[in-house]
Amino acid sequence: MKILATIKKEALLLIRDPGGLALIFLMPLGLVVVMALIQDAPFKDYQETKLEVVFVDYDQDSLGNKIQNAFLQSPNIQFVHYSDSNKARSVVRSGRYKAAIIIPAGASESLRKKNKQLIARIFSNLGYPGASADSTVLPATNIQVLFDPAIKVNYKQALTSAVEKVIANVQSEWIVDQLQNQLSGNTSPKGKMKVDFTKVLHVQQQYASKNINENLVLNSVQHNVPAWTMFAMFFILFPLAGNFIKEREEGSMLRLRLISGSQFPVISGKFLFYFGICLLQFVLMTVVGIFIMPMIGLQQLVLGNNLGGIFLTACSVAMAATGYGLLIAVFFRTPQQALSFGSISVVILAALGGVWVPVYVMPEILQGTSRFSPLNWGLESFNNLFLRDASTLAILPDVFKLISFAIVTLTFSIFIHKSRTIS
């Protein structure tokens, strides 16, 4: 009953604290939405962004057409046609476009000549009558791919290899074509044969997840909703520590000390209340992820199938966040100390934990330290559940770390509070 009374008291105090309410519910709401919107583009950079590439075709022959047709099927690359390479260079330099492909005049012809020479050599080598190997060294033809210096390296590599791949395909097609022409011209009465260039061996891309939505990847919503929700849950220390220290300063904590046996209900009541608030934050942010995000042009949050695992992780994060808030509340003597240290420490833990940017983007040394952040344990667990459809067993190590963190912080909180209650 004492615990229930404390929970009710905490609820009344919070309801009458508009600043605290805003911090608990509006701040995370704002953070989740704003961060998801801001990070939508960078996340798409990796996965979905369309890259506009300037295309200058001085060749006006088959090679240019083949390259254009090949990229026409690409969902990520769109050609913007320019007729002047200097202009193309200028728009790329200015950053308006990220890259340009310039096909020089005579590129197709040059490729044909090269192929012809190659085939003549083969025939000559095989001893075909009338075939003579041409040993003239043909001048190299450069297809230029220009890049904006600010382009990401992975784009640069992807575009270069795509162009090289198209050229290689065109060259092989033409070799076969010319070979056929040569052979049919010499021997076959049936004329030219249609060669099937469809691939036998395919490279099939697939995500290793078992999710119902198997094409689901880490996008802005999938990252930001759990990440910033956890950040907000850890920011519970603001109202928790703020109220706790205020009670100490105003004297109500002294009265509670003067009431026999009130310390356990006071601490546990506070813990349970803020634990509940953390869970409420999680539910609210999840609802925002599922229903509000699609309304503002973002993807919908996909939870996966393991709702039990999600609840377990949310409870563990809530316990860890509340334990940490209580520790800060009992350890520091003034609100200024508690809130300054508390907020900075949560920001650091969040940054290390991969809340701001995913851990895999961080330098190796930070990736190592991120393992010590409770926010990282929570985020890993949520990612495993949302994206990889992990079983409860699979998330237990992270859950265990979070609960251990909660137990340690709670134990220290009780110990410090008790040592200050009786001196």
Binding site: K9, E250, G251, L256
Partner: protein, 249 residues
């Protein structure tokens, strides 16, 4: 004295980093049913002594028995039977008077119906019934003090400890408070009354002790103490004679 409700034997308390003890070899007995004035200038050790009586602070030396229990070992049991109105206004300002008292009643472990009854009785006594649903931060200093006292009375304590109960209180509120204490005195409740208002103490205390710099300067019945010092006609003149006129921190 066999009927002492508090028995303090040679206690000393030295705070960390402090050279002078807050309490130095203090011996004191407080009779049951008395209104015992605990007087002294700032830094005399009154608040430290109160904390030790409640079992929230341990003396470095000596022993304290309150209601027959060892304050060093049985602080919890002692706190169940005493009521303390601390010098600080130990209330939640954004809660109403009723919510504050109800919460403290719950923390005392009282049943809901008893808490409601006690709240109604005491708010009526102090003329605060119509303010029950008002938030405490809207109360005057006097009303807050009264509420502070009610919170210490909800569980009908055997021993009531009041630390500066009339600080910052207007004449009317003080009058109500003192009248109420007189009714408690009539019911034989033991009251330890710490105050700077000597006239007030002289009026209601049946026994008193004057402390200074952690030491007991004198102890006895107020009129006897004044009479023992022929040149003193009031408690204030006695107080100044015994503790000096220099200003304390």
């Amino acid at each position: 004295m066999s009927d002492a409700i508090v028995r303090i034997q040679s206690i000393t308390k030295l705070y960390k980093g402090s050279v002078q003890p807050a309490i130095a070899d203090l011996r004191l007995e407080i009779p049951a049913g008395s209104v015992f004035g605990l007087l002294g200038p700032n830094g005399a050790g009154k608040s430290t002594l109160i904390m030790m009586l409640c079992g929230l602070m341990m003396p470095d030396e000596g022993s304290i028995r309150v209601l027959g229990m060892d304050a060093m070992k049985e602080g919890g049991a002692i706190r169940k039977r005493i009521g303390v109105a601390p010098q600080e206004l130990a209330l939640f300002p954004t809660l109403t008077a009723y919510e504050n008292l109800f919460y403290f009643g719950k923390m005392y472990g009282l049943k809901t119906d008893i808490i409601k009854k006690q709240i109604a009785v005491y708010l009526e006594v102090f003329g605060l019934s119509d303010k029950a649903r008002k938030r405490v931060h809207t109360f005057s200093g006097g009303m807050k003090r009264q509420l502070n006292l009610i919170a210490a009375l909800l569980h009908d304590p055997t021993l009531l400890i009041l630390d500066e109960p009339t600080a910052g209180v207007d004449v009317q509120s003080r009058n109500i408070l003192l009248d109420f204490l007189m009714t408690l005195k009539a019911k034989n409740t033991t009251i330890i009354y710490s105050s700077h208002f000597l006239e007030e103490a002289e009026k209601i205390c049946t026994q008193m002790a004057i402390l200074d710099e952690g030491k007991l300067i004198t102890q006895g019945i107020p009129s006897n103490l004044i009479g023992d010092h022929g040149d003193c006609t009031t408690l204030e003149s006695l107080f100044l004679k015994l503790t000096g006129k220099h200003i304390r921190d």
